[in-house]
Amino acid sequence: MAEVILTDDSFEKEVLKSEVPFMVDFWAEWCQPCRIISPLIEELGHDYEGKIKVGKMNVDEHPNTPGTYGIMSIPTIIIFKGGKPVETMIGVQPKENFKKSIESALAS
């Protein structure tokens, strides 16, 4: 499934009310490391198709949601489950780390 482009308006409906865990990639145009992470997140969306959803949110265009979750550095990737953040990953890291977080969110 393709990545969902999230907005402040759609966030609650798409992410917080999602049936399955939802991994959100908070990013911005000016953020170099975000460009590195972005294809990885898309890949994970395919790897875990049906089990989780993935989406990205531009923090410049939609500042309210990042503010709510205290994001002060990007890329920040948060996995939401049952309307709550359950896993937070800040900065570029190996795919393995994301997999571990996804597995632990699925298991919890």
Binding site: P33, M72, I74
Partner: protein, 345 residues
């Protein structure tokens, strides 16, 4: 499996320049670029001291250009992390860490990746018939006749209470990445070199005030950078001062600063702490390769390590110059030496 002539680990100016030279020498070249490819320059803004760009060039643009140049000449570049190396007949130990050796990622706490430096130097010899085996974090294996280690260096953190858990929550090593989150807020930059000056100047575009905290009574930054900092009305300077603790619930709220002349401790309300006190060489993933007491890889005869066929270039061995242009120069040297070594085999 094909055997590469050379595998280059790292994709900053050293690694990619090495790749440029090795491919032009017709060597079958693989660059293990790391997931955060490009190195420290990816976390900077304008680079004004790389020759050839009279108006300066954005760090990330420079790296894109060097990468494109290496690729145009046939370098194969993969954006995965190096995991371990097996240097063949010597049966040297494997690196077990999965951390990214290339570093440079925003807020990723990889700075502590240097293990204790290795002890005595042992001159190892491998027979050329046994290729070196390189493993990546996606569990693939590659064979090569030679290796150039160009993994650079990562942020050195303050290692004070409250720092680690607030990386990405107000503690940062990358102003160009995170400065926009500090619009109309107050930030501290720790350090006294050029990179501290740059972090402070970048922050002034967003923050209402920036305080540079430095442990000595003068900066070691270049004259031009010091001048820009001192002329900027948004920047305050605290000399002879150390941050001893970072406080706050879930994010940075204040810091304890100790004046190291009077031992007086004061608290400053602050929203962000940008750390620019230097870098730690990414050498821990290479057990068996000689390092000095600070973790820098030891160099023998310009670009060689203690292991036959394994070369080194850039900030992972260079504790003195640490410039983009010197790293590129070291990359060139290592590639030329690799070429010579392969011809003599």
């Amino acid at each position: 499996m094909d055997t590469f002539d050379v595998i280059i680990i790292g994709s900053g100016p050293a690694g990619l320049t090495a790749a440029l030279y090795s491919t032009r020498a017709n060597l079958k070249t693989l660059v293990i670029a790391g997931r955060a490819w490009g190195g420290q320059l990816m976390l900077t803004t304008i680079v004004e001291n790389y020759p050839g760009f009279p108006e300066g060039i954005q760090g990330p643009d420079l790296m894109q250009a060097i990468r494109a140049q290496a690729e145009r000449h046939g370098a194969e570049i993969i954006d995965v992390d190096f995991k371990s190396a097996d240097y063949g007949s010597t049966g040297s130990p494997q690196g077990g860490s999965t951390g990214s050796p290339q570093g440079g990622s925003t807020g990723s706490p990889q700075g502590g990746s240097t293990g204790s430096p290795q002890g005595g130097s042992t001159k190892l010899t491998t027979s050329n018939s046994t290729p070196i085996k390189i493993r990546t974090d996606d569990d693939k294996e590659y064979l090569t006749k030679t290796v150039i280690i160009a993994t650079g260096a990562d942020t050195k953190w303050l290692e004070v209470p409250g720092e680690k858990e607030k990386i990405g929550r107000g503690v940062s090593s990358c102003a160009p990445c995170d400065a926009p989150f500090f619009r109309n807020k107050n930030a501290i930059v720790v350090g006294g070199g050029d990179s501290a000056m740059e972090e402070a100047l970048v922050l002034t575009k967003f923050a209402s005030s920036v305080t540079i905290v430095h442990r000595r009574d003068e900066f070691r930054a270049s004259a031009i950078m010091q001048k820009r900092v001192k002329e900027n009305p948004k920047i305050k300077i605290l000399f002879n001062s150390d941050i001893v603790e970072i406080l706050g619930e879930n994010k940075v709220e204040k810091v304890k600063v100790k004046n190291n002349k009077t031992n007086e401790i004061s608290e400053i309300l602050i929203d962000g702490v940008f750390v620019a006190i230097g870098h730690i060489p990414n050498s821990a993933l290479f057990p068996g390769v000689d390092r000095d007491e600070n973790g820098f890889i030891k160099v023998y005869d310009h670009t060689k390590t203690n292991i036959e066929g394994v070369y080194v270039a850039g900030d992972v061995h260079d504790a003195h110059y640490k410039q983009a242009v010197t790293a590129a120069g070291f990359g060139c040297m290592a590639a030329l030496e690799v070429e010579k070594w392969l011809m003599n085999q």
